[in-house]
């Protein structure tokens, strides 16, 4: 059975949380793609950029343009609101993990 679509749906929420956790320190888009690729979690740029924008629109992320090596780069980082949201989402994620483990007999 092809689990591609299910995996994509599952990943959608996870990537949001992952980005929030990663962006404690400011990073720019290409940097995020590369870092995740190196950790065996390849992510499509076309998925990441709109996601970053949406999180910024919700004020979960903030951003600033910097010019480095003669290139403009847009750095994203978690805002104060984002930190609170992240804390809450991590709590939910941990609860879900415990629930799954309890059913899988690992608890």
């Amino acid at each position: 059975m092809d689990i591609g679509k299910l995996a994509t749906e599952m990943n959608r929420g996870f990537i949001q949380l992952l980005v929030m956790v990663m962006l404690d320190e400011p990073m720019y888009g290409y940097d995020i793609v590369k870092t995740l690729g190196e950790r065996n979690f390849p992510i499509d740029e076309n998925t990441l950029y709109p996601l970053l924008r949406r999180l910024e629109e919700r004020e979960i992320l903030s951003s600033e343009w910097r010019v480095e090596e003669n290139k403009p780069r847009k750095y994203y980082f978690v805002s104060e609101t984002g930190r609170q949201v992240r804390k809450e989402l991590l709590r939910i994620w941990k609860e879900q993990e415990l629930l799954l483990k309890s059913f899988a007999g690992e608890e």
């Binding site: 076309n46 709109p50 924008r53 949406r54 290139k71």
Partner: protein
């Protein structure tokens, strides 16, 4: 960097929204990524490496489409309203067309100038597309406004109705058949009036109009009886729609100048005596009742078939 500029222009074409600052920001970010990728993946920034990055990144449509996520043209929860409102609007529109058709006047809100059946039928697809477009446009604005507008949900039309028992269906058939027999007998042997004197001219007009009215009632009751007979074996709302439509067509043909005289002569009535004001008023009332019933039945038929499945 002509290639890069062209690519960004193409992406701009497909990007949603009209806020130029937002669009510029997105394009600036895409440009930044493409330059970064060209340098890091292909060694340096030049036309060739940028073109390679563009190719790897995806077509302008694909890139722009990603930014659509979460912003549908019509919100999914409004989809049911789209079909429901279109059905209701179309049914009302159909009723107005029929009024214009039966009474030979432009009674529709949106112009309907045809007076023959083919003109009416040919306008219905256009009417439907217009109604669908109008409702879509309204729901589009509701979606884009992102408001919490509470739209009326006409549950009356999609409420599951109990199929009448076989007894009720037989009762309906007996009722309409008895009505047809009574009108036939009244037409053939009646009307019964007291007095022996000669009828005045006014009385003759009234009498002929009355008999013509009986004939029309007989015709409508026969159509209803056939519909009720079919419903005994296979109950369907569609048969009601068909019988109402046939009833309207029958009324229209019977009172149209082309056929009225012939019908009156065939019934041994004076053609010039079958236009008593009372008859005209009753005909008007009958047509309105049929049209209103047809509109309601069409909405219910549409709602139960289309809205529930979407």
């Amino acid at each position: 960097m002509v290639r890069l500029k062209k690519h960004l222009d193409d992406v701009r074409t497909f990007l949603p929204g009209t806020d130029p600052d937002k669009v510029d920001e997105i394009l600036k970010e895409i440009e930044s990524y493409l330059l970064e990728r060209a340098e890091r993946e292909h060694g340096e920034i030049n036309d060739t490496t940028v073109a390679m990055s563009i190719k790897e990144y995806g077509s302008p449509e694909e890139v722009a489409a990603r930014y659509y996520e979460g912003g549908p043209i019509i919100a999914p929860h409004l989809k049911n309203y789209l079909f429901m409102y279109t059905g209701i609007l179309f049914a009302i529109h159909l009723g107005l067309h029929l009024i214009a058709f039966v009474f030979g006047e432009n009674g529709a809100i949106f112009s309907f100038r045809g007076t023959d059946l083919i003109s009416l039928v040919s306008q219905l697809p256009v009417t439907f597309i217009f109604d669908f477009g109008l409702v879509s446009l309204i729901l589009y604005f509701v979606t884009q406004a992102k408001g919490t507008a509470k739209l009326p949900h006409f549950t009356y039309f999609i409420r599951e109705e109990k199929t009448p028992s076989i007894g009720k269906r037989i009762g309906s058939l007996i009722g309409t058949s008895a009505g047809a027999v009574i009108t036939f007998l009244a037409f053939t042997y009646g009307p019964f009036y007291l007095g022996n004197g000669e009828l005045t001219e006014i009385a003759i007009v009234a009498l002929d109009s009355f008999k013509f009215g009986l004939f029309l009632a007989f015709g409508l009751l026969i159509i209803d009886s056939v519909s009720n007979l079919i419903n005994i074996f296979n109950y369907s709302r569609f048969s009601k729609i068909v019988s109402n439509t046939l009833g309207l067509v029958f009324l229209f043909l019977a009172v149209s100048p082309d056929y009225k005289s012939d019908i009156a002569s065939y019934l041994s009535l004076n053609p010039s005596s079958v236009d008593h004001p009372m008859l005209v008023a009753i005909l008007f009332l009958m047509a309105i009742v049929l049209i209103v019933d047809l509109v309601f039945e069409t909405i219910k038929f549409w709602a139960s078939r289309i809205v529930r499945t979407n």
